[in-house]
Amino acid sequence: MLRASNLREHDMTSPGDLELNRRDLMVAAAATAAVASAPSGAGAQPAAAAAVRAPSKATVSMMVNGEARRLVDLDTRTTLLDALRESLQMPGTKKGCDHGQCGACTVIVDGRRINSCLSLAVMHEGESVTTIEGLGTPDNLHAMQAAFVKHDGYQCGYCTPGQICSAVAVLDEIKAGVPSHVTADLTAASYDPTADEIRERMSGNICRCGAYSNIVDAMSEVAGRRA
């Protein structure tokens, strides 16, 4: 029922800072426009029949899993999710809803998790993106990936990359003292990664197979090992 979003617009290390900069505002407006232009499926309105301009293109450079990548002539409507999945042919990051509702597309950008479907690729010039492919490989699993295998924290596997990227970032958030809705003491320097903290913070990542109980076990084990 709770849908605590794992998307944070502001710097999570200073939750009290509500100042929006100009770039954030423009970015938010662009994202809104992109969503609004999608056909509703309920039949296009006459107003939509205006002539279509050729798509505007841009070149975007970013670090992806530690590698410098350059996206030349990228359609500026391309989300970070589709830039990863289609342009860079890295489909580990999943498209479940394309509307920021399910969390399957979660990646870590400059240390913070975001829904990559709610973010245009051009918003990430010069930034550093970590995807599921960058955390580990089948022969050299990240500790969180290994814990998901051990605790069977997945079934169909489709929400799994997003769950794991979120899980890695959540433990960092807890360690960094970023509070959540269930945090009792907001002034503590850091928090214990309790099951309730994990469940609250992971609630933006839906798993329809229902592996939640196992995911909490996997994350608790990794959190315990690191502590």
């Binding site: 709770l2 056909p39 039949g43 939509a48 498209k95 479940g96 699993l141 069977d152 079934q155």
Partner: protein, 735 residues
């Protein structure tokens, strides 16, 4: 291999690999994002264009005109396919409504066009430029109003009416009676991976990479829809991002990708946008159910009656919510009735445990209510009315039925004795706390299933079958089966699934997949053992396959030696003799235990504890089987507390058609969950002695939650989901 006598001792009984809680063999690929799903097959080099589907904006009527001019001129557009230029399309054997609509519209968001462009962004933008003029007509969208016109369904698995004894007389004469109605809403599968397909033509042959639970059905229905010979369609679906019934059948993405690829002259991939899925595809239909129970003052049921009403499109099938009531409890006088109303909502069809899932949502609240009327503990009431024989045909026993043991084990483990019979008695801070229980019941279905096995000189055993793994663990349990049969470690088995060029399998549905598909692999492995023994000069009947060797008559030879000259390849399938397997009733059983807290001021419900005790045949892999059960319990928690497709009864569509509007459980909704499997090795089910477990877990759990809410708060809610607005004005006085 014909399964026509109960299984005796066989190599699976060694349980060296089968029955172990092993990690999934596909795990490392899935947790690193390397498992390729349908829309992301960059690895096959198809370089596809992208199709974007437009859905109808009315529920019923006709397209008067479609103006495609602006869309055709849009940048990057390669082709637009509508019913007008698609050529003749047949209706698939497993489809109720056409997958490409027009000019007649059968339901809201029925696909009416696909725009193909170089990129997704271009296709989406161009689809928004299509102008459609509709002539809508009146439709029926409200089950409650259509109920009076409901009729005996034409397309059903079970008889519309069943009767044993004299229900009417027995019910009238019963010392204690219950007569209540219950409703369950429309449910959406809401699997995480949207329906997606990529299609490529080579001459008159078509390959479709898709996300589908039943490969042979899919290949057959794509061919039928497109008017092609069956052998010309290849379907590939190695990874499926959730199904739950939504991907049992070919849907619009597959057919439209094929049409679009033909029109564009190159491969095309299509994914259904999330907001289209609820109305474009299938859903679990809403039900209205009436349950009547009559019992003597001793608590023994003398009359049990269950009626259900659901709706569907013309030629659709009913939700058979009375199925479990024919088998679950004793009682000499019984009746069920299933009626179907005509509705113009999207197609209703199977979702995880069709029939039993919504049926038990009603029946198991009724049992809780009846126990209270009788002044009995609800578990004791169920145990008193347990039966070891088919209640409609007492000469026919269950093959193995441990419902009472499930309850006894669970009650002990869960601490049921602490439950207070009176409602609203337990308080923990702001929470009113209560416990509820309910029976889980689902029949064990079996399906013929084939497999091919190969042995290489390196001793590696490769299994090929068109079986699918929809998160169920098929890759792993099939590998375990082959490893056990051939006496090799799991690392020496390669499993290849989900390709119509492999032998046809049971597929994944109706919780028949695990038992049936591994039995098919068992059959192929028996043949491989014979071939190996023959090649190496062993007696097949007595040779032992262990530790990568074949042993017998005092000698032992590495298994791979049998394939030194050339690879050995054999194929077989398991076929179930229905007369034998039906001679006893095969079902799976369980007992759900739930503790909830109901906020004394806001009526917010939180699940605090959940336990399921299951008796479901031999458990082939306790780790993946447990995951199936807890996952199904999560889906049942959704059905109990939040899931409901809201019907716009004027315009005829599901309003909350995305993952924000259609709420499913998230992490914060689900506590730690426990599952106990009872030993249930059933020689009637297959050589594996296994049954299904993937659907059992959802059966009954929603009622257990509703019963716990009643026990906590005194609010008896009979209309799902049990949201706080239905509880709030019935809470006990605070203080």
């Amino acid at each position: 291999m014909k399964f026509d006598t109960p299984a005796t001792t066989n190599p699976i009984d060694q349980l060296k690999v089968v029955g172990k809680p092993l990690d999934r063999v596909d795990g490392p690929l899935k947790v690193t994002g390397r498992a390729p799903y349908a829309y992301e097959r960059h690895d096959v080099g198809a370089k596809p264009a992208v199709g974007y589907v437009l859905g109808a904006g009315i529920a019923k009527g006709r397209i008067q005109a479609m103006d495609l001019a602006a869309a055709k001129r849009a940048p990057g557009v390669l082709a637009i396919v509508t019913a007008e230029n698609a050529g003749k399309l047949e209706l698939g054997k497993f489809n109720t409504a056409k997958l490409l609509g027009g000019p007649d519209i059968d339901h809201y968001h029925q696909a009416i066009a696909v725009v193909v462009a170089e990129t997704f962004e271009q296709a989406r933008a161009a689809a928004g430029l299509i102008k459609v003029e509709y002539a809508p007509t009146q439709g029926a969208f409200d089950l409650a109003s259509a109920r009076d016109g409901a009729v005996v369904p034409k397309n059903a698995n079970a008889p519309a009416d069943t009767a044993v004894g004299d229900f009417g007389r027995a019910f009238a004469a019963a010392a204690v009676k219950l007569d209540e109605s219950y409703t369950t809403p429309d449910h959406s599968h809401a699997m995480m991976e949207p329906h997606a397909s990529m299609a490529a033509w080579e001459g008159d042959s078509l390959t479709v990479w898709t996300s589908n639970q039943m490969i042979a059905w899919a290949a057959g229905d794509i061919a039928k829809t497109l008017g092609m010979p069956n052998g010309k369609v290849r379907v590939i679906s190695p990874y499926i991002g959730g199904g739950f019934g939504s991907k049992l059948f070919v849907r619009a993405d597959a057919v439209i990708a094929a049409l679009a690829a033909k029109a564009a002259g190159r491969p095309v991939k299509v994914a259904l946008p999330r907001p289209l899925i609820a109305n474009n595809t299938t859903h679990r239909p809403a039900t209205i159910q009436r349950v009547r129970l009559g019992a003597g003052s001793d608590g023994k049921i003398t009359a049990i009656g269950h009626e259900t009403w659901s709706g569907n499109l013309p030629d659709g099938s009913p939700e058979e919510a009375v199925a479990q009531t024919r088998l679950l409890y004793a009682g000499a006088n019984r009746m069920t009735a299933t009626r179907l109303a005509l509705l113009d909502l999207p197609e209703g069809n199977a979702m995880r445990a069709p029939g039993e899932a919504p049926g038990l949502m009603a029946l198991e609240i009724a049992m809780d209510e009846m126990a209270e009327k009788l002044g009995m503990d609800p578990i004791e009431f169920r145990i008193l009315n347990d039966t070891q024989v088919d209640p409609e045909d007492p000469k026919r026993p269950f093959s193995l039925r441990q419902l009472t043991e499930c309850y006894r084990t669970g009650a002990e483990k869960f601490g049921w004795s602490a439950r207070r019979a009176r409602t609203g008695q337990v308080r923990d801070g702001r929470w009113l706390v209560g416990m509820g229980a309910a029976s889980a019941f689902r029949n064990n279905l079996t399906m013929a299933s084939g497999a091919r096995v190969r042995l290489g000189s390196d001793g590696v055993v490769t299994v090929e079958t068109d079986m699918t793994d929809i998160g169920t663990g098929s890759y792993t349990i099939i590998a375990q089966t082959a490893a056990e049969m051939m006496g090799v470690p799991l690392e020496k088995v390669v499993v290849r699934l989900g390709d119509s060029s492999f032998p046809a399998s049971s597929g994944s549905g109706g919780q028949w997949g695990a038992n049936s598909s591994t039995a098919g692999v068992y059959a192929a492995c028996v043949k491989l053992r014979e071939a190996v023994a023959g090649q190496l000069g062993f007696d097949a009947a007595t040779a032992e396959f262990a530790d990568g060797e074949v042993r017998g008559g005092g000698k032992s030879v590495p298994l791979g030696d049998a394939a030194k000259a050339r690879e050995i390849m054999v194929e077989d399938k398991i076929e179930f003799d229905k007369e034998m397997t039906n001679s006893k009733q095969q079902s799976t059983f369980g007992a759900h235990f739930v503790e909830v807290g109901v906020d004394v001021a806001t009526a917010e419900v939180r699940i605090r504890r959940m336990l399921a005790v299951c008796s479901a045949g031999r458990i082939l892999n306790p780790k993946s089987a447990r995951s199936q059960v807890i996952g199904a319990m999560v889906m049942g928690a959704g059905a109990a507390l939040m899931e409901e497709l809201a019907v716009d009864k004027t315009r005829g569509f599901f309003v909350n058609h995305d993952l924000a509007g259609y709420e499913v459980p998230v992490h914060a909704d689900i506590p730690h969950q426990d599952v106990i499997f009872l030993d249930d090795t059933d020689p009637m089910s297959s050589p594996m002695k296994a049954k299904g477990v993937g659907e059992l877990g959802i059966c009954g759990v929603a009622a257990a939650i509703a019963n716990a809410i009643y026990n906590a708060s005194g609010a008896r809610v009979r209309d799902y989901p049990v949201t706080l607005d239905k509880i709030l004005d019935r809470l006990p006085e605070m203080g």
